[in-house]
Assembly symmetry: C3
């Protein structure tokens, strides 16, 4: 038997609604013995499914949903369509908890598969799984129950904590550290050189500034497919505990991402950017170097952050400004030709008046 393959329990045993409601302190407005076969979003749900409704924006989807039961906020009235509502404090969170009940559980056969290349000086916990096509270099360490998937590369003296999964084709370059319970999706690159050069006009050539620091990824971090976190010039580039990074994100050298921050797809951080705790950067945001984005700040999609952002601020635009101001300015932007026309007309009429004055 080959080591390494995953085993999936498809998790699809039906449960009683009351059993699920109990997990999230929910109040069932209807038949508590309703069998629930699975969970799904309002639009994907079929009969037998439990869904959730937490945002008024999706009222139409709620009305149209085929779900048999829906998690709703505490103050909700019962359904007028015979759907069983379950009142909870936070429908989105309750959905996450219940969805985990139905999720397939992956298990892995411990051991180093034939076709994996593990240096004799590497320390792989016996409960860990190393799949075929993985390469683990000298002095690397892999913790208990962690998984190193096919095509993954662990450089010299890297360290992976416990219960972390490197899915496939992940590269963790020398000296970099990954915590426990991390999930690194395919194509993630940790520890490529930071982008630093000094121009020497006498050659002429860009002279490389050696990048001798590391990347440190703390516990409970998820990093999306093909995202990159560069090693520090000196010291560390840090992804704080519980941070979640989406696909195709770029984190420049010496950046520090605060705990529980959220970076959506295609975000780019220049060097030495500091994000506080619980920062949210929406998709395609760019952040210039040597800036701080404060705790709990939110940056809207495609914004270009060119200066520090205060704790708790919500900003948008490039250069960024308060999001409400941006939306107001953007509304005027779409009418700029009209505004320009008005100004020209004003000028004409004013000139006419001025002319009249002079020739009374």
């Amino acid at each position: 038997m080959t080591a390494g393959p995953r085993h999936l329990d498809d998790g699809k045993r039906p449960r009683q609604l009351s059993e699920l409601a109990a997990l999230v302190s929910g109040e069932v407005l209807g038949d508590p013995s309703l069998p629930i076969a699975g969970v799904a979003g309002l639009e994907q749900a079929q009969a037998g499914h439990l869904s959730f409704y937490g945002n008024q924006k999706y009222k139409k989807q709620l009305q149209a949903s085929k779900a048999s039961a829906v998690l709703v906020p505490r103050d909700s009235a019962p359904s007028d369509r015979g759907v069983v509502y379950v009142r909870v404090d936070n429908p989105h969170l309750a959905f996450a908890r219940i969805a985990q009940e139905f999720a397939p559980k992956r298990t892995y056969t411990p051991g180093i598969a034939a076709g994996a290349f593990v240096d004799a000086s590497a320390q792989v916990d016996p409960s860990a799984t190393v799949m075929a096509g993985a390469t683990i270099s000298a002095g690397a360490r892999v913790g208990a129950r962690s998984v190193v998937g096919p095509g993954c590369y662990l450089g010299e003296r890297t360290r992976i904590g416990d219960d972390s999964v490197l899915v496939a084709n992940v590269s963790v370059l020398e000296e970099c550290l990954v915590g426990s319970r991390c999930l690194l999706h395919p194509g993630v690159v940790l520890g490529a050189d930071g982008f630093g050069f000094a121009f020497d006009a006498s050659v002429p050539a860009h002279i490389k500034i050696p990048q001798t620091g590391i990347v440190r990824v703390e516990d409970d971090v998820e990093i999306g497919a093909n995202s990159c976190v560069d090693r520090a010039t000196t010291g560390e580039t840090v992804v704080g505990h519980g941070a979640k990074i989406d696909n195709l994100v770029q984190v420049g050298h010496n950046s520090v991402i605060g705990p529980m921050s959220i970076l959506c797809a295609q975000v780019g951080l220049s060097g030495s950017t500091e994000l506080g705790t619980g920062v949210v950067l929406a998709g395609q945001v760019g952040v210039a170097g040597h800036l701080r984005i404060g705790d709990l700040a939110k940056v809207g999609a495609q914004a270009g952050v060119m200066s520090d952002v205060d704790d708790g601020a919500t900003v948008l635009g490039a250069p960024q400004m308060p999001a409400k101001d941006f939306m107001r300015s953007a509304a005027v932007f779409s009418r700029l030709p009209e505004l320009q026309r008005q100004v020209r007309e004003l000028l004409k009429r004013l000139e006419a008046l001025e002319g009249d004055e002079k020739t009374p």
Copy 2:
């Protein structure tokens, strides 16, 4: 002999122009026996090459081209430089057809190469090619004449149709489906987890919403290097038949890309985005979640789509607006300081007039 290597016929046998013109119902304005050694764009073409001219924008390049023959629209006058023109309905399309005649044909040695890791329960068609360093998991299926290149990873119960090519280092994660005649370039990731979390302030932590759906890629799809299509939370993320996706594109969970849509490089789709048939998204476009972009709509480069887009619309900007309106507004944007100055001057002159009125 090792299985797996490609064999290339370089396709460079010269052809008579008349033979090529016949393939595209072309009318030759000149010597039909002209030997054609290959095809090339107007700027790259050398003597002996056939090129094409379909867009007035490139008139200068047409005049300067060294091509011996050029595919031109039906209503074109003969060349004034002795170049042989070939009148066709659609020069760009005719060029594509003829270029395929000259393209090297790749052939692959069927079989599973030494150094490939294929689970005993996987079903690989005998006519398929699996190269060294590829990993195929339990229950996976690979169709006739398909190619799984080095470093590719097929997860449990994935399915690849017939005549598809996964070039190298492609990851297709468990349960995901790829159709026939698809081309997946290196580094493509299908089926990484969608980006979904619910915040639990009592921990505090982001709680993962399990992503238990799949990705379904229909037939005749091409996906560019390092692009990512996330698996659905529940249900499917779909790339419709004949869609073409460029490099470094992000497709969020539960998005549905309509047939024959075109996504240029670095486009990002949030979750549950729906693209109709034949949609074109230019480079670096971002699209917010839960929106619909209608059939045949065109979205210009770097646009940020924040609301639904009508069938056939052409939009630009962030938030998007009709492209012509954006260009007009952008023209005024570049003169905003002048506009502001004018308004200030108007105000002064108006105040002067008002002052005159009060003191007659």
Copy 3:
């Protein structure tokens, strides 16, 4: 002993400051015998470190730095805090030179590792290193002292020069050429098909335009993690000597990047873009096709280049404009609602005046 692993000399032997200053023709303002244990940026530096200060923007960081010695411009006054200043012509460049002294030197064991797949017709220099999990195809050539890391794929008839390093999971597709002293970070893809299709309404389908050209990467080029350079339709896509490309960059088919150009993270070039010598594109810039960006031009972050850029220009915005003009227009943009209000008020007051005139 397995071939391929890297050996690192950690480079951390302390040096006398005078010895380091001599390397960069520096004038030491203080104790030349000061022992220096390493280098670091102003913010990361600890006692015993040498740092640099070249930009007034970082005056605060200079004052707060714990560095024992700092490279400063020639005209600097001595430190008022007892830090030893070293006067040099170009502090950033001097820092790069000295940092190289302290950087760990990587050495590789020459040879082809067990677990690498090398076609019998490939020519690998005996001094080169091919690591486990690498695949080298028929007719490929790897030069002296070059390194092909785990999971790298070299297609048919590719060529890698001398002293180049392909770190891990790099794909270089058939016929593509890489020069000497190049550094390709993990996940780089060279030679995926350019994105070219012609629509055939009679099917309907997008017909592929075969991409039969190559990518040519000249000497001394560095390309960041997961960046992509597409092969030309015909002819070559070129990355000129000494160019430096950051992570997640897209270079479209037939683009030509001039020598010593700098492309920051997430830049996207459409097809047939031409960059002159020493061009700098900041992060997330997009460039439309068939354009020229002149020598030494600088394009600011997130700009959208829609027309040619002159030699030496500094531009910003989308469509791009002179950077100073953009910043002025952006300042007015943030006050657009106020400007609109003023125009409306002007109109009212003007109407009042006009009314007065008519009824004297």
